[in-house]
């Protein structure tokens, strides 16, 4: 351990020494021993089970609902039981918690039932009579949009006028299902004068606020407690507000606890998925490979309600020109209504779609120029001082060229590119980035708070940031331990319970380390100053409790205009470059991924093993997105809503993943750290499709199923 005396600000982290080390996870033993308690593990006296009766047509009106069972012992809830507003409050309050008459998709909740006996509950029949309408399933032919946007830089016409070549292309990406291994689930428990909800939840305060709207002023005490959560990936960002609403309505009517745990089929059928996208590129480029004009049109399928589609679209569109400098850009975007269950947040939040498009398009631009695609990327990659499409000037932590070069070197790209030519192997790459934290002024609006308080044995972190595998508790405790120059194991992390912790904003958008970690670092630093040199436990013994709460402060230099999409879209960006190697089975069309080299710059890896795990896991999800995961939609619903028919990567489908971490620090993050969670989702799909392209196959959509590959092989012959 370094000497504490005379340590300058840069050396502060050596004092505690937790940051930068792979310390034991706070939640390690509970998970390895099976003692960690997830929503379905909770049992309360007198508990009932809840069930959702859903619509069976994608569009129309409900004429009548009839119970075809003996209601004795059942609690039945319809929309008339709602005392507040019948909405799932989020960005736009358009989605009802229970359908009244208008049906917008085929898995909408209509009626809720609860019973203590699950077999009787499942046997209950409800007859719903409809007046069917005409559904819309194609987002490009939908008459309604949730959001339209335009982002402009320079003059597109002048850019095209100076181009030697114009390259066009359309790229498509499909739905993706989260497949957290623990499905959505909550337990609602009536408490003295109010209600408590325990659940598998990413954002407890989203749920708390949605419940307050739903229940109205009659129920004043609402607390939401996150249980151990078996994966989220965005899929437990907004949907738990709906599910918690249902459980709470039943529990309040029954006056008894109600557990609602979706089975896999219901979870896949009714909850959110990644937005399918259609991205059109038209790019002007000079003979020597300078991008001079980029027109990009992004259409995403929002589904039946707005949920988070407007902000998914915004993030996707902001990243749509890729990590490249181009003086003249026009990006248009639309999030469209369709009669399908609403799509929502999923790791990457619109960027995996647009990153796929631009990186496959870059490959095609290089082909049109007869230029090596690495050279094309080298020439145009953002450097410090360059501006993005929103006019944001890149800081010194812009690492596009560094990650590209490291990926080439570590993977042996150039050598293999030559060696694989004419074989059944291919190699391809993708360069990508990801904005950290909420888009634009989102972080200012959130005004997140977090606290550090003294305990008899050390300190406790109070925040609403949730742990669902990423390592929130561990990483926050490391940051606080070092800021207080105290041992890591004396830092506790409080359970996120909205009645006990401040609102630190949602656990989404790669913000939990950089934003909330930064607030905690400030709170802990101030606490240290107030301790006057005493160890925390000793101060507590002598003087009693002490708590420091801090709120997010936006860096002064950030400027953003919400209406024109001009300015600093994100405080900073994480950078990545993936190299994919594949083998093609020419008989079956199957593409076997052999190896993924992922080079990532996250500013600083607070916990190197956790950071590596995030990149490996995100990369595997990207492999599934690219090659395996196919949501088959029939009449507006997922037809393959079982794990037997929707395949995520198993051990045998997941290639070797080599992770290289670069650490070019961001001065505004704790110890220089940036956001990481979403970044690794952006690269694998374009890298894999570019590797398939190396085999001479022109694919422009994912998933690249064997059928699509065989079709491309027929065309290429």
């Amino acid at each position: 351990m370094a000497d504490r005396r005379g340590a300058g600000p840069g050396e502060r982290y050596a004092v505690g020494g937790a940051v930068g080390r792979s310390v034991p996870r706070k939640d390690g033993i509970g998970k390895a021993s099976g003692s960690a308690r997830y929503a379905d593990d909770l049992v309360f006296p007198g508990m009932l089970y809840g069930r959702t009766i859903r619509t069976t047509i994608p569009c129309g009106r409900i004429r009548s609902i009839a119970l075809e069972f003996d209601p004795a012992g059942f609690t039945v809830v319809g929309h008339r039981d709602i005392r507040g507003r019948n909405v799932v409050a989020l960005l736009v309050d358009d989605q009802p918690c229970l359908v009244e008459t208008d049906v917008r998709h085929g898995a909408e909740p209509v009626l809720l039932l609860a019973h203590e006996d699950r077999e009787k509950l499942l046997a209950a029949r409800v007859a719903v009579v409809y007046e069917p309408g005409t559904p819309v399933f194609d987002p490009e032919h939908s008459p309604r949009s949730f959001k339209d946007l335009v982002i402009e830089k320079g003059t597109l016409a002048a850019g095209f006028a100076s181009a030697d070549f114009v390259v066009e292309g359309t790229y498509r990406t499909g739905h993706q299902e989260h497949v957290y291994i623990e499905p959505n689930g909550v337990v609602a428990v009536p408490e003295d004068g109010g209600i408590a909800v325990y659940g598998s939840i990413q954002c407890p305060f989203y749920v708390q606020q949605a419940l307050a709207t739903l229940l109205g002023p009659a129920v004043s005490r609402i607390r939401v407690i996150q249980t151990e959560t078996g994966g989220g990936f965005g899929g437990k960002e907004e949907y738990p507000s709906m599910l918690a609403g249902h459980a709470v309505l039943l529990a309040l009517k029954a006056g008894r606890p109600v557990k609602m745990i979706y089975d896999r089929a219901e979870d896949m059928l009714a909850t959110t998925k990644r937005h399918p996208a259609i991205v059109r590129h038209r790019t002007g480029v000079t003979r020597d490979g300078r991008l001079v004009a980029m027109a990009v049109d992004v259409v995403i399928d929002g589904g039946a309600y707005a949920t988070l589609s407007p902000v998914v679209l915004a993030r996707g569109a902001i990243h749509a020109a890729g990590p490249y400098r181009c003086p003249n850009v026009r990006i248009t975007g639309r999030a469209m209504f369709t009669n399908t269950p609403p799509n929502g947040a999923f790791r990457g939040f619109g960027v995996p779609q647009t990153a796929f498009a631009v990186e496959v398009h870059m490959e095609r631009i290089a082909e049109a120029l007869g230029m090596d695609s690495v050279r094309l990327r080298e020439r145009n990659a953002l450097r410090p001082g360059d501006t993005t499409v929103t006019g944001q000037r890149m800081g010194q932590d812009c690492s596009a060229r560094q990650v590209l070069r490291a990926a080439l070197r570590k993977s042996g790209y150039h050598r293999k590119r030559k060696a694989y030519a004419g074989t059944d192997r291919g190699i391809g790459l993708a360069l990508y980035y990801h904005g950290c934290g909420f888009t634009g002024s989102g972080e200012v609006r959130l005004a997140s708070r977090a606290s550090v308080e003294l305990t008899a044995t050390g300190v406790r972190i109070l925040s609403s940031s949730t742990e669902f595998g990423q390592g929130t508790r561990t990483m926050h405790a490391q940051i606080v331990a070092d800021a207080l120059a105290m041992p890591y194991d004396q830092v506790e992390v409080a359970l996120p319970d909205t009645s006990l912790v401040p609102d630190s904003g949602p656990t989404v958008a790669s913000r939990t380390c950089m934003i909330v970690g930064g607030i905690l670092e400030r709170a802990a630093t101030e606490l240290r100053e107030r301790l006057g040199g005493l160890p925390p436990a000793e101060y507590f013994r002598r003087h009693g409790p002490l708590k420091v709460t801090r709120q997010y402060q936006q860096p002064e230099w950030i400027r953003w205009d919400e209406t024109s999409f001009r300015g600093d879209a994100y405080a900073t960006y994480g950078w990545g470059c993936d190299v994919a190697e594949v083998r093609l089975d020419r008989d079956t069309g199957e593409v076997h991924p052999l190896r993924l080299t992922a080079v990532t710059d996250v500013g600083k890896a607070i916990h190197p093993a956790l950071a590596r795990g995030q990149i490996e896991g995100g990369t595997a999800q990207g492999v599934g997105y690219a090659l395996l995961e196919h949501v088959v939609m029939r009449e507006g619903l997922m037809a393959n809503a079982q794990l037997a028919n929707y395949q995520i990567p198993t051990t045998l489908d997941t290639p070797r993943i080599d992770v290289i971490l670069l650490e070019n620090p961001y001065p505004g993050g704790p110890s220089g750290a940036k956001g990481l969670g979403e970044l690794p989702m952006n690269g694998p799909a374009p890298a894999l499709v570019n590797a398939i392209r190396h085999l001479g196959l022109d694919l422009r959509s994912i998933p690249a199923l064997p059928e699509a590959v065989l079709e491309a092989m027929c065309v290429s012959r």
Partner: protein, 140 residues
């Protein structure tokens, strides 16, 4: 129905066709065994029946009469594999972990990577990309 559960005799009065998963979680109070899909695809409910890794969501209680059933609780909290999963961050969200460890227990000492990949192909993990799980199982 009588069987041996984690080394102790168990006698459960449940329907013979009840899923072993439900019996373990609800009758025996052993919630370390998780349900991820209920269709035998994800392996989160993996337990050992007479030393063989099986999906307890597919096994009726009648099937284990007289058999020896081992769940994650049967390993205690100090099994070398549990330690290795903690040290190598083989668990992220943790929901697949009990099943993954129970499947890994059957691999013996120092299995090859190819063996691990084949034998764990029935245990899905959505968080790790499996690399950290391999590191845990192959730890010297």
């Amino acid at each position: 129905m009588r069987f041996t559960l984690n080394g102790n005799p168990a006698d459960v009065a449940a329907h013979p066709m009840a899923r072993l998963l439900d019996v373990l979680r609800e009758e025996c109070g052993l919630t370390g065994t998780k349900e991820g899909c209920g269709e035998g695809e994800c392996g989160a409910c993996t337990v050992l029946v007479d030393g063989e890794a099986v999906c307890s969501c597919l096994i009726p209680l009648a099937h284990v009469e007289g058999a020896e059933v081992t769940t994650i609780e049967g390993l205690g909290a100090a099994h070398p594999l549990q330690r290795a999963f903690m040290d190598e961050v083989g668990a992220q969200c943790g929901i697949c972990t009990p099943g993954m460890i129970m499947a890994a227990v059957t691999l013996g000492t120092r299995p090859s990577l190819a063996t691990i990949r084949t034998r764990l192909a029935g245990n899905l993990c959505r968080c790790t990309g499996y690399e950290a799980i391999y590191r845990a199982i192959r730890r010297p």
